[in-house]
């Protein structure tokens, strides 16, 4: 079932939660709404579910306008951030709830209901937990009960609010992969909200990056990561080094290095922000190909698959570089070493005065 959101706006008092948002989600897609808190992602999810009503705009599922239809008629599965399990009911009763409250004629028979609940319990691998109460379950188990409960009513779409938000790192990782497989098995159109960029990039077919009630960028995870449309997206997805510079005679001058730009028509003295991912900076003892700059190693963190090195340039700007363990050992780096940092890939955001934004990607890495 496809979801279409058209020109949705929503304010809470003075606060603009959503400002004219439009979005189309295809059948069977798993889409992440990614953004910092206050970006409106949860509000958008709740509007799709019908738990909030928009000030303007419309929501349709499979071409059918549901903007004014009641939550209970929408057939939308919703998994709440803190699961919102019914604390007075067993796991079985929690999952059965949606079936028990159906109008008498649609209500399944006792045997049918039992079969359906146990099928879902098997799906979420909680067969042994049917008679437990939510308080007796771990966070990950509660999460799965919440999911089974939402799926019990055979929803047309599945909405998840920060599905892994309150779990510890290891459980989160496991559940993430499990949810991806589950989604692929049952193929239900799903939207989930997260503020964790790693989660969004790893799990989703498409990522919607939101900021202050607006959509910054929509795209496949690698598109969004490799080609961020705005400085915000670049900043939000992964660690990043920021340099400030200006353009003179088609050459970018940063405090650390200079670089000839492939654009000829930028006016002189255009200010520019330059972003470079830590893994696209390379350290060497010898001077390498420009652009490059000199820096002194301040800290080295060797834990994990990547070694993280913090350096300071001659002007005092802090730069972060990541490299594989192998390379680190090969170079034999030590704190206090003075090294050359070469730039393998950056993104330049010239700040135009006329408001036109044109970004320059410089994939300097030869792959």
């Amino acid at each position: 079932m496809s979801i279409e959101v058209r020109h949705i706006s929503k304010t809470f008092g003075e606060f603009v939660a959503l400002a004219d948002i439009s979005l189309t989600i295809g059948t069977g897609e798993l889409v992440a709404l990614l953004g910092p808190s206050g970006s409106g992602k949860t509000t958008l999810l709740r509007i799709i579910a019908g738990l909030e009503s928009p000030d303007r705009g419309s929501v349709s599922i499979e071409g059918q306008d549901i903007t004014d239809s009641n939550v209970r008629d929408r057939r939308v599965g919703f998994v709440f951030q803190h699961y919102a399990l019914f604390r007075q009911m067993t796991v079985f009763e929690n999952i059965a709830f949606g079936l028990r409250v159906k109008p008498r004629r649609q209500r399944p028979s006792a045997r049918d209901l039992r079969d359906r609940v146990y099928k879902l319990l098997t799906l979420v691998r909680l067969e042994q937990m049917a008679s437990r109460y939510p308080a007796q379950l771990s966070g990950g188990q509660r999460q799965r009960v919440a999911l089974a409960r939402a799926l019990a009513v055979e929803p047309r779409i599945l909405l998840l609010d920060e599905p892994f938000g309150s779990l510890d790192a290891k459980v989160r990782q496991e559940l993430r992969q499990w949810l991806r497989r589950l989604h692929d098995d049952i193929g239900i159109t799903s939207v989930f909200v997260t503020h964790d960029q790693e989660e969004a990039l790893e799990l989703a077919d498409r990522v919607v990056v939101m900021r202050e009630g607006q959509v910054e960028q929509v795209g496949k995870p690698d598109e969004v990561y490799e080609h961020p449309a705005t400085p915000f997206v670049y900043h939000f997805l992964g660690h990043v080094n920021v340099f400030h510079g200006r353009v003179e005679d088609s050459t970018l001058h940063c405090e650390a290095f200079s670089l000839e730009l492939p654009l000829r028509d930028l006016p002189d003295a255009t200010a520019a922000v330059v972003y470079a991912r830590p893994h696209l900076l390379e350290i060497d003892h010898q001077p390498a190909e420009p652009p490059q700059f000199r820096a002194t190693i301040e800290y080295i963190t060797t834990a994990g698959p990547l070694v993280k090195v913090e350096l300071a340039t001659e002007t005092g700007t802090v730069v972060h570089v990541e490299m594989p363990q192998e390379r680190y050992r090969h170079l034999g780096l030590r704190k206090g070493d003075e090294v050359f940092v070469s730039v393998k890939g950056i993104r330049v955001f010239p700040q135009h005065h006329n408001g036109v934004r044109r970004n320059i990607d410089l994939p300097l890495v030869r792959t």
């Binding site: 209970r72 709440f80 803190h82 019914f86 949606g98």
Partner: protein
């Protein structure tokens, strides 16, 4: 909301805390002694005195006092009053707390404050309010007289005054509980297709049932024990508008101490039963996190 206590965890806790964390034995003993003496002087002695005085002249006199027709009439009126006031206030309390805890609307704070009003007004004034409204010289007095409706110095007045005094109990108990539980479960029920009544009976009510029972017990205790407000509107007509507390006062003023304390002992018993019930519910509320559902609440047909 409730801490999820693991059964056995408490029992297996070390019996004595580390020596450097507690007061010396002397100070601890002294503090306990002070508490016990204080409790004894102000609670145990008066309560026992009630029973001692009631039974002073033997069981026969005691029985005569509480089986006296006037006493029985007072008991009956008290029970009737509570039987009307408590259910109505329970309904009101549920509705008010549901509205206040789960919805936002203009005037919410005003309503919240109004609910507390009976707690902050002296019971005598509460009684006076009804005399002012429905008494012969009151606002509606002439109209009531013309239609031959008696409220003041009659049973309706007693019930009204009792309801006024006891209406905050259930609401006050439920509002913080419902606020703490939030709206999540109700929203989840809505997305699962439940209607308003289904949500209320299957989700909201079960979640607050112990708090509700607690409120009802406190409300009942006050409804049966209320003196001030009822005294003002009652008119003290023996056998007609005397509730138990008023009957006790009359007997006492007539120097029938054994009889007075006999009836008083019934009210004291009610208080003790209330305390035990309350304690049991409090225990229940804390154990909530790990409890099994009581049989009578389990769903039909499984």
């Amino acid at each position: 909301m409730m801490p999820s206590v693991q059964p056995g965890r408490l029992a297996s806790a070390p019996p004595t805390a580390a020596a450097n964390l507690t007061e010396s034995r002397l100070i601890a003993g002294l503090l306990i002694a002070v508490a016990v003496v204080y409790l004894g002087l102000f609670l145990v002695v008066p309560v026992s005195a009630v029973f001692a005085k009631a039974l002073e002249k033997g069981v026969a006199t005691y029985w005569a006092a509480i089986s006296d027709p006037m006493a029985l009439a007072a008991i009956r009126l008290t029970v009737i009053t509570a039987a009307i006031a408590v259910p109505l206030n329970t309904l009101f309390g549920l509705a008010a707390s549901w509205a206040l805890a789960k919805f936002d609307f203009p005037g919410k704070n005003v309503l919240m404050t109004l609910i507390d009003l009976p707690f902050s007004v002296s019971p005598v004034i509460s009684g006076m309010i009804f005399v002012l409204l429905f008494g012969a010289q009151g606002v509606c007095g002439a109209w009531l007289m013309a239609h031959d409706i008696k409220i003041i110095f009659a049973v309706p007045g007693i019930i009204l005054a009792t309801m006024f005094v006891t209406f905050p109990f259930v609401a006050r108990e439920l509002i913080p509980l419902m606020q703490a539980q939030g709206n999540d479960e109700e929203e989840a029920a809505r997305t699962l297709g439940a209607g308003g009544w289904q949500i209320f009976f299957r989700v909201t009510l079960p979640n607050v049932k112990w708090g509700l029972l607690y409120g009802v017990i406190m409300c009942n205790a006050r409804a049966m024990g209320e003196f001030g407000a009822v005294s003002v509107v009652s008119g003290h007509i023996r056998g007609v508008t005397n509730t138990m507390p008023l009957h006790v006062e009359i007997l006492y003023n007539e120097y029938q101490f054994a009889a007075a304390f006999g009836v008083a002992s019934l009210l004291t018993l009610l208080a003790l039963v209330t305390l035990v019930g309350r304690r049991a519910i409090e225990w229940r509320l804390t154990a909530e996190g790990v409890k099994r559902q009581p049989r009578w609440l389990q769903k039909e047909g499984r």
